[in-house]
Symmetry: D2
Subunit: 328 residues, 4 copies
């Protein structure tokens, strides 16, 4: 449920408004010197601040209680905890009767029979992606691959040079937008991924859809490839290392890395919380009502999501990388 992976395994805990969130990272190879500044740098990318992101401050001091000895990983699980500070104790109890559209309020109440901690989204809060960034950042340090990500589109905007202006406009409308992010991995060798149910793309799809707000995942060219014919879509080999002229496959053939860049494109839906008045259904009065989600919101959570997706992908590759050692 809250544990991912077979050999590189992470277990998450925490809710938005309780004392702490955290992650237990199991399977990190012993003898790795962790560069904590790299992790801080990744966390900074996730943190709000830019235009279109919430001005709320998250400090996110990492408390590492185990798994590191004399600066090196020991082979035991690494536990990283982050306290939930600056949590404002406002009243969230109206959410019980009036679930916010686009949020998990309604399903959480039903599934957990009213016992879930609904404050700030509880277990479903985007805040829970912080430990994923930490775990993925450690995964990247263990891997011989090169990771990057970029925004491809935000709302209807494709020229990222105009992003600040565009998001100010959306903010003025009291609305929000989603976007498309591309994550890329270079220097991948042939052979990551197992047949059938542990395929590289299968594990990527599983992980990407684990990240809140993700509603679409493509490997390589993806849906746009529907317009191409086989003679155009097939990537032509150009050398004995498996490199191809084009990369419609996104670096994955038959579920196994083929030596070309792994390219994953992810659709992040528009932020659910908006300033604008919205209609919902009041479960107590049994009628539709207008309401506004109070507070200061991200206009484009997608702006902060790139590093989450990149590091989530690193977690997948760390697991398959360790598995690949079995056969070498």
């Amino acid at each position: 449920m809250n544990t991912y992976g077979k050999l590189f395994k992470i277990t998450l805990y925490g809710e938005s408004h309780q004392d702490a969130i955290g992650v237990v990272i199991d399977g990190v190879l012993p003898g790795l010197k962790i560069d904590w500044q790299k992790i801080e740098a990744d966390l900074l990318l996730r943190r709000p601040g830019a235009v279109g992101t919430t001005p709320r401050v998250e400090k996110d001091e990492l408390i590492v209680t185990s798994g590191i000895f004399n600066e090196y990983t020991t082979g035991s699980p690494i536990h990283v905890m982050i306290k939930n500070e600056n949590v404002i104790s406002k009243d969230y109890s109206h959410l019980v009767n009036q679930p916010r559209p686009g949020h998990a309020d309604y399903v959480a109440f039903k599934k957990y029979q009213g016992f879930n901690d609904y404050r700030g989204g509880g277990r479903f809060s985007g805040r829970l992606t912080t430990p994923i960034v930490v775990a993925g950042s450690i995964a990247k340090q263990m891997l011989p691959f090169e990771f990057s990500h970029q925004l491809i589109q935000v709302g209807s905007l494709k020229d990222m040079d105009q992003l600040d202006d565009y998001l100010r406009e959306i903010a003025n409308q009291g609305d929000s937008v989603g976007g498309i992010i591309e994550v890329r991995v270079k220097n991948v060798f042939v052979g990551l991924g197992e047949p059938m149910f542990e395929k590289l793309d299968s594990k990527i799809g599983e992980m990407m859809f684990s990240i809140p707000a993700v509603k679409g995942v493509e490997i390589g060219t993806g849906f746009d490839g529907v317009e191409l014919k086989g003679s155009e879509f097939n990537d032509v080999y150009v050398d004995e290392l498996g490199h191809t002229l084009t990369n419609h496959s996104g670096g994955v053939s038959g579920g196994i890395s083929n030596g070309n860049d792994i390219v994953v494109k992810v659709f992040v839906k528009p932020t659910s919380s908006i300033k604008k008045a919205q209609t919902s259904f009041n479960l107590k009065s049994n009628e539709s009502t207008e309401f506004e989600v109070k507070g200061r919101h991200d206009v484009a959570i997608v702006r902060r999501a790139g590093i989450i997706l990149e590091n989530a992908l690193a977690i997948v590759l760390a697991d398959l990388y360790l598995a690949s050692k079995v056969y070498l």
Copy 2:
């Protein structure tokens, strides 16, 4: 590797040109009377025959060796085997040096160090989807939901009434096309899916990308939703059962089924094997060469893929359905 699921668990085996393929289906509730005609009907949808599909005949007689007693499931694993008959013993050894573009030949050789059975695609053959259809068909009989699928687009064609003509044209070009399939599940209750790593959409993504040729997965509106603002994308609740005015979410909120139709859209890439001459790299001579993939091919494998994706989705829901019983 070849096993999927936690409570409803399937294990696949087989290669295209060996004696048999099959599946062990574990976790089927005891006391279910299996309707084998429904399974045959599903298999018929996967079988070739229509315009744009290979004229190769697959008989697919199901050999059921265990798990059924007096017509009812016993609670023990159901084993279904299908013999590989009508396999033509032609020479595939040229593939060792000359991997086909778009196929898994190259990665399979590298990963399995030359020991893989490369005949007819071996473990990577589309034939291996037959046991998935069988397992999913049984899953559907155990579930109180209603499944369907439809072709949304094939190549550049969006009007499915013209499909036969369109595919004849592509066939004449010696080429192939891909397509987009929508799978839909009705009558789903609230609560399927677990937090974080066993989210409903996460498990759907994992399974869909397990199916050969799938290169994109969307839940609900998906990538097209990038043009929508939050106020448009948010689905408005209209009753106390969680039903919404629109269904951009595709029936999944916070990774949990929300009571609306589950809608999954899947991109199936153009069939890799085409009649047209293609360029590849010869690993022996170390130079690029022109070659043709012999035999009779599917022009649009997507035409046969709908039932595979529908039943694969049923396998996912069967696993989460059993998990949901824990909390009820």
Copy 3:
């Protein structure tokens, strides 16, 4: 449920009186030339025939449908099926109301709500250990270790030279006996086993108790060690390879193989089916009744169990062996 292992994974299916039993073996390294005669030799050890074992003949022809190409393993799952021939279709329906003492009849009916196939013990039959012998025999061929087993005690008999006479006597009484088997693995390197829940002894315990009739498991000296003090029980290191003067630890320290022989002792309970009249409870008439289990029985199933336990242990070690490669 019927699947074991993480990297070396086996999935069992079948019931005693249905068409076939079998196993899917996943994770065998590619390029291994399987010696089928060794497997046959192991099966011969499990087969009845000696004094104290049932005179029933099991032919056990192995049908291998996949995973082997040109005599070598391909890296794909190996499927081995064994038909249930010579099954006598007698009437077992009285078991529904009158569960046999020591058997699983009663719990099976309750758990599977009356839908289980009760003929010949169904899923709980000792026959299901045949595929375990096959899978373990393949595991042994993949491992660089040396396996053996021996009977330590049968009933009250400790001198195995008198075994035939002893068992004839028990047979004459219409009774049965259990026994203690020691399984030993030589040439094991240091490092098999993972911390806490995938400890070597933990995985051994799990597997041994999976074998029907096993009711006790010891690593090394075991329960007899209760009489020893720490100064006697502690094994003294004698060289830099971790070899010790004594081996009370049975080759396992802190859950990890320590380079000494792995020694496992297993108690197999007396065969439940006996010729003698026994008392049971009739669930229909709601009263105690005398009855006899018809047919020809093993007087000492323990005589055939050694190879099952040895090969079951090999399956455990194969899984941990592959895992150990991750760290090397």
Copy 4:
């Protein structure tokens, strides 16, 4: 590796001499009001203090950061952390060259290539059983069963009334002893446990051998049953609920709970650390040496182990209990 369970899942972290140890407990049903005093009472049983246990004080304040809201479980993972206070920073570096007999020092160094935190036993310290007691105590509160444990034998002593005197004598000798503990579960219904590899006894064996110092596990009568014949060992049913006259089976038939008390007997080896001088091998000088393990030790760790085993068993039953709901 450090995660156990399928539906009731626990993940452990921590080493003896780092900042904290802890556990993430996933799968606790929502709406359970946790009685923290019961947990404290269980921890008290594990804590030293009695004759024959170390006078070292462990305070063990529980820091609960998530999974509880308004005193009830939320359905999200419960994280409990315990700081490692009162840790004495003495020099442990001699252990690198001179592994203690009976401890995991040697295998840990080999497996983790010298990067393990060896202070106080590191990951292999008995201290890591504290979070198991906590998790098991929560499991017991979720279960409708009744748990207990008792010492059966300590060293050669079988009359527990003389325990204090006996242990004082062993302490005077500078030595240690092991023991046998019986754990019992009452009011268990029929049906816990799954076929083959998730059998109740199989999961019990796996878990019991996970606890440090455990070297033997029996279900029911166990090894002593080797002297019994089938007619004596078979438990005779006396009513329609499956109750039996004797309980040699220990409440488990065919791997499934049969409605009688679950009885597990566990052998805990003599404490490895003793005051007496011992011989070990110095890996630097390459010769055998005499040495003493400094500090104050448990003479009979078995005295504190009962609650650990009882609660470990509760974790197993919690997992199978949730699984059993799938079929009801």
